[in-house]
């Protein structure tokens, strides 16, 4: 099939190409589909750089009546709020990814050793949660009343750092790509399992670790669910949850940016609420939109690997 995808196919492949008319029509269809996927994001960007008075008067427009960076400038001037939520998001994303990759790789390696005596037992430990879970209420009660995670940053990190899917992908990778002979010879040279893991397995497994790290990074950056469940303290808001709150109540921003002199009402009247709110959405989306085209292929390989049985 790949022959069809080449620009200048030869022989039968050339004969078997689709007609020019259908090629044009199909291209048009995909252009429409691509625009449907991308335009809403562009539209929200346009709102974020529209002038507040124009939004108030004309509504959200695809072609803005007047440009203005006021929304972004306002966010920067308010500094504290945006910086705090941004810092929270970064801390959660980075530490969650690091902890998650480490835990996943460690148990994945143990599971990949066929002669390990608890291998069967731990395989079940990883497998059972894939088919049964205690349900939301039980998880909530355990996390808040036993582990006391409510209103701590750990509530945003721990509940999603390990997933059985990732563990199985990692285990499968270790088993398929790292030859037993390599590990055996290292053992004969007197290396401990820790040494083998750190010096042989990890360096050879960068592709799979990168893939899992990527999955986790996007999952943490995009998470609002854990905040919604466990966070009431505005100091721990992440960007996603901040935007969530802002969509429900546009005055959130001024409430959170309780500055000294000006009264609340006065602040509220002056601030570019609409554009600032969409600017927060853009602060979330722009890093993703810039990064994902480069990481796409790791995602695809990770997703298709998922079908491989461990």
């Amino acid at each position: 099939m790949s022959a069809y995808l080449k620009n200048e196919p030869e022989g039968i492949a050339k004969f078997n190409r689709i007609g020019t008319v259908s090629n044009v029509l199909f291209n048009l269809m995909f252009i429409v589909l691509s625009l449907t996927a991308v335009l809403p994001v562009v539209f929200v960007f346009i709102i974020s750089v529209s002038k507040e008075s124009a939004i108030q008067e004309f509504g959200y427009r695809l072609i803005p009546r007047e440009f203005s960076w006021a929304g972004y400038i306002y966010l920067i001037e308010q500094g504290g709020v945006l910086l705090r939520t941004l810092a929270n998001s970064l801390v959660v994303t980075v530490s969650g990814t690091v902890i998650g990759v480490l835990l996943t790789a460690l148990i994945g390696y143990a599971l990949s050793r066929q002669d390990y005596k608890l291998q069967k037992f731990f395989s079940w430990v990883v497998f059972v949660p894939m088919i049964f879970n205690g349900g939301l209420v039980a998880q909530y009660v355990v996390n808040t009343q036993m582990l006391m995670l409510k209103n701590t940053v750990w509530a945003l990190i721990l509940p999603m750092c390990v997933t059985s899917f990732n563990v199985i992908v990692t285990k499968t990778f270790f088993r398929l790509t790292i030859p037993d002979s390599l590990i055996e010879s290292a053992k004969i040279d007197g290396a401990s399992q820790f040494g083998i893991f750190a010096r042989i397995v990890l360096p050879l497994s960068l592709p799979v670790l990168a893939t899992i790290g990527l999955f986790l990074t996007f999952a943490y950056w995009n998470d609002w669910w854990l905040s919604m469940l466990y966070i009431d303290d505005p100091n721990l808001y992440t960007l996603q949850y901040f935007l969530n709150k802002l969509m429900a109540d546009i005055t959130m921003l001024s409430k959170m940016a309780a500055t000294g002199n000006a009264s609340q009402l006065e602040l509220l009247a002056q601030m570019p609420k609409e554009s600032a709110r969409m600017a927060v959405a853009m602060v979330i989306v722009i890093p993703i939109a810039c990064a994902y085209p480069y990481f796409q292929k790791y995602f695809i390989s990770g997703l298709t690997v998922g079908a491989v049985k461990g």
């Binding site: 099939m1 492949a13 949660p129 979330i284």
Partner: protein, 314 residues
């Protein structure tokens, strides 16, 4: 655990390697105990009138058993059938569309003459997959807001009357189906495309020599060869038919009370109950979902093993 150990001991003694590997697996094991296995036993909450009286274990112990009363309450309310109908109904539509549309598009995109354009379309269509429902909710707001939304502005520009989109009941079922497809299309297309690019070219060459048209090739070669992947995706999705995408049903309609007949699915119901501190009913609904979900997943897996043993989970 003891059983596993004794069996292992028969084979060979516990070695230094085993100790080291256990140390490595231990942190994740503790994680699994805390975040998966203890909550599993929390399912008994559904049979208790949970009252906080000190720490978790004490509260658990002290709370009175109420048998299946929590379940009786749920099934006494008329809402439950609407919620089950919504969850199953939406999921059924999602499952069909998430197979038919991406398979067709994947076949077409593999036929485009320009490989580069195909890649560009793929990348563009993949974008929504990486956006969270909170962000998507704000994108949707830009279109549907009553006062400023693009739709209403376009309607009023041509002299029409603005619509309260977030209260318009008949609009939402179709719109939610659209949003679900919008978010997942790029991703599912990529999965099928990966399968298509892996197919053997010689099938098509033989078909061309036999004079098969492009449509015939798609119908009699590509689709049959994709059958295993399609069946697999189908069954896996059916296994999760009792789980709904909370963000889609809660964030996108902005928790609108008017729409609750249209957007209440099990996950939203449980969350709302939890929010109102009606722990008993919430835990009963969650437990029900967990048990039924487990049954459907196991059944689905059993069928997968019949169809394609390689792809089964166990």
């Amino acid at each position: 655990m003891t059983k596993v150990q004794t069996r292992a001991v028969k084979k060979r003694f516990w070695s230094k390697d085993d100790t080291e590997l256990t140390v490595m697996a231990l942190p994740s094991f503790i994680w699994y105990v805390l975040f998966c296995f203890i909550p599993m036993f929390g399912v008994i909450l559904a049979f208790k009138d949970y009252r906080i009286s000190g720490n978790f274990f004490k509260s658990m112990w002290d709370s009175a058993w109420v048998g299946i009363n929590n379940f009786k309450f749920i099934f006494a309310s008329p809402d439950i059938w609407m919620i089950i109908r919504n969850t199953l109904g939406y999921n059924a539509v999602f499952i069909v569309l998430n197979i038919v549309v991406p398979v067709i598009l994947a076949i077409i995109i593999s036929q485009l003459r320009s490989k580069r354009m195909g890649k560009i379309y793929q990348t563009a269509m993949f974008l929504p997959y990486f956006l969270s429902w909170v962000v998507i909710s704000s994108l949707v707001w830009a279109f549907l807001s009553y006062e400023r939304g693009l739709f209403n502005r376009m309607i009023t520009d041509v002299g029409g009357e603005a619509v309260q989109w977030y209260m318009k009941k008949e609009f939402w079922p179709g719109f939610l189906v659209f949003m679900n497809l919008w978010k997942s299309l790029g991703y599912s297309m990529v999965i099928y495309l990966a399968a298509i690019t892996g197919l053997d070219v010689s099938y098509y060459e033989a078909a061309v020599i036999d004079g098969a048209s492009r449509l015939q090739q798609a119908r009699f070669i590509t689709v049959p060869l994709l059958k295993t992947v399609i069946i697999l995706m189908f069954i896996l999705a059916v296994g999760r038919i009792f789980y709904a995408d909370f963000g889609l049903f809660y964030q996108v309609p902005r928790d609108s009370n008017t729409l609750y007949n249209q957007v209440y699915v099990i996950d939203v119901y449980v969350y709302k109950m939890l929010l109102n501190s009606t722990t008993g009913m919430a835990s009963a609904a969650a437990a029900l979902q967990a048990v039924v979900g487990c049954v459907t997943i196991l059944t689905a897996n059993w069928i997968v093993r019949k169809v394609d043993p390689e792809s089964a989970m166990m």
